[in-house]
Symmetry: D2
Subunit: 238 residues, 4 copies
């Protein structure tokens, strides 16, 4: 699964760049606290993808009782391409590492912009602060066409400025938040579960949710017992 770009939205992707993660690390780091060393040796020698029934129970116990630290001894490094308005939500998650393409240093050469296939409109829910979304009743094709033309106009102005010698850090301020950018994102399962609980969730913005779904599938592939315990715990991070 490492190395493969999984497409998200019209031009984005999630690519797992490298990973150091399995369910056993949760069990072993917790066992240091509990000092049940004999079981531990046994597990180390066993099949890493198939925990014993006792080990699975321990993972579930740790999740439910909010013993969060054993879920931190792992790392997932992702390469992500997403629009700026998605990255702005994403990078508010502080317990993670980020490096993103810089509009100060990079001169964009035919960059991508996000244009939805179908737009949304908001529907008031029964409770205050609770909204639902449905397909926009306006002319979706027209809107997509207007948005695309606007993106091109923005890019034309950017290029006019660049071609006239303006610094990239000034020229780029005309570009819309639909602009795609790329980042490296490294995080651990505990912080990732917090991300997933908030972003792969009904109230989350659909665009970031599309990314979070791919992230969750990768998480569940490498740490299936942890992912199952996360779901059984109402998707609350420990």
């Amino acid at each position: 699964m490492v190395g493969e770009e999984q497409a998200v939205l019209d031009h984005g992707f999630v690519r797992l760049d490298a990973v150091l993660a399995d369910d056993l690390s949760v069990v072993n780091s917790a066992r240091v606290s509990l000092a049940k060393r004999s079981d531990w040796e046994y597990s180390v020698g066993g099949n890493h993808r198939e925990l014993s029934k006792a080990d699975k129970g321990l993972v579930k116990f740790l999740m439910t009782k909010r013993h969060g630290t054993p879920f931190e001894h792992n790392a997932f490094r992702f390469h992500v391409k997403a629009p700026l308005f998605v990255f702005r939500e994403w990078q508010r998650h502080r317990i993670a590492s980020y490096n993103e393409m810089s509009g100060r240093y990079v001169q964009f050469d035919n960059p991508d912009f996000y244009v939805p296939d179908e737009f949304r409109q908001r529907v008031e829910g029964s409770k205050p602060g609770a909204y639902a979304y449905e397909t926009w009743k306006g002319n979706n094709k027209q809107a997509a066409s207007l948005f695309a033309r606007h993106n091109q106009d923005s890019l034309d102005l950017y290029e006019w400025a660049i071609n006239n010698g303006m610094a990239t850090e000034h020229a780029r301020i005309v570009l819309p938040v639909s602009l795609y950018s790329e980042m490296y994102w490294t995080t651990n399962a505990r912080s990732m579960m917090n991300f997933l609980s908030l972003r792969n969730e009904q109230q989350a913005m659909a665009e970031i949710r599309a990314y979070a779904e791919v992230v969750e599938s990768i998480f569940a592939f490498y740490m299936p017992v942890t992912a199952e315990a996360f779901r059984a715990n109402g998707r609350m991070a420990p």
Copy 2:
């Protein structure tokens, strides 16, 4: 100084919303480690804005020797209005608290956009990766006019979408990163010194530097001995 908006750029500001900070807290928290309790009592009874010579020496010692934790027992809460491309750099500083206006929830009503008075162009420095900036040799008035018209076009398209019932979270993706937003930012002196060392600095982007200069003046007002020690230490955070 609390409560006052200090203007930055064409439409932004920094406003100190609340503060719990003085140099004495650095001295006292360090004295817990060193257990020189007699001096400590003396200082507590003294004038908080005028540390003793020994106390000033301690602050300098802590800064130089990279004893960073005594500089964390304080809090500055700011209300800031700045363009999105400035906030994107700012919010990468993870040891701080942020709440920002949300383009998902807020329907922008005649928002502000940043247009520089004078544009910049980049000049290659003598070393690779080292750039300098000078005033753009192009037609600055023309560029400002084109940028302002583009901002208005972006806003017109946004309003067309809103007026036709599109969700704010979709309509806003056409807005450029020059859009002004607002945030609450709470941080402590140690994290702030790290911010200042990177953002109130020659290589920093001029726009974030304009904000960082105001932040530094507020920091220096409340913690003058610490700010002086920071400068004497080559502006390296401890």
Copy 3:
């Protein structure tokens, strides 16, 4: 309440050293996101200790929906005296600032040691991993006497080493984890609620719980609406 030592255990205390916290800061920082600025002005002019009904509802909404960041724009600075084995649990909470008395630098002069009035024994609960505690059925007076004598023996050996010129950092390694130490601890309400959810809780060690109870009473004094919402949320931090 600031400045007052509240006694905990046989020789410990919690003292609020300084504070910048009220419920209004939660409301105002959240309102930046939601941009309901008119209400906000009103609240600022009002009584800080009595939020409007709408504001109270907002605090509850933020807690329930896990919008955690508005609870971070505040600071509580505590001075705490507690045994080492309590500090070892406490300082594992990483989103906070600590400065503690150092056994490397300080030469202990007649330090205090914790000796329980009454000891505990563990009773197996019905589920694995769930324990209850009850009063130890052994001779509590005898144990207290033996523990106290041991503390004195430890101190005698420490002082023998010190008096013979040994470095404090070596002499202190004979001292037991019942030794009292002191620290400055600065945290915000969100991190504090996480601390309280784990430490002012039935499964927590009774000794750290005694401290957490005092911390919670101080928290509830300064942020009563937040504290009430925390309890109504099953004591889960947002």
Copy 4:
């Protein structure tokens, strides 16, 4: 190198449990910012342990200019056995993950205690706050013998309490901070360099420095170019 226990002090060890780290990840995550994608492809296809000259220069540039984030996209997971007074310093480093053996849950069975071969005494340096250490001029054999007997007395009292049914969390409070414990510690290269700059350093306590030396050798094995740049930068973390 993974899996091997490297002995430290009289009974401790550092064991690298798992690792996801190389110098190339520094280069690649930085290249996302700078968008020099062609070089990047080349490096990916090349020998991971031998960066190109340009790549080495980039690592050095990032270190010197304090671009710290590219050094975070990696993970080292260690299993460490050390005395409590060493762990108390170690665990103050907050940007890392810890799970430690718990004296509440574990009943110690013939545990180890640290007794120095040779004790130290402190010598005043020329400047205030600057100390040096030399071999203690007292009777080192006698001290080691007294310390060892004291450890045994502590353990005897612990076992008397345990044998009489006292809860482990109460019995253990008589044990000295020379007691060995075990932990899992997961960190990234940037946080590790901060740890090394403070703990593998002349002013650091010799016991934690002994551990930090082993950690640094492991770090330098997996990220040789980064380790070299760290040293060339005066051992300052970026």
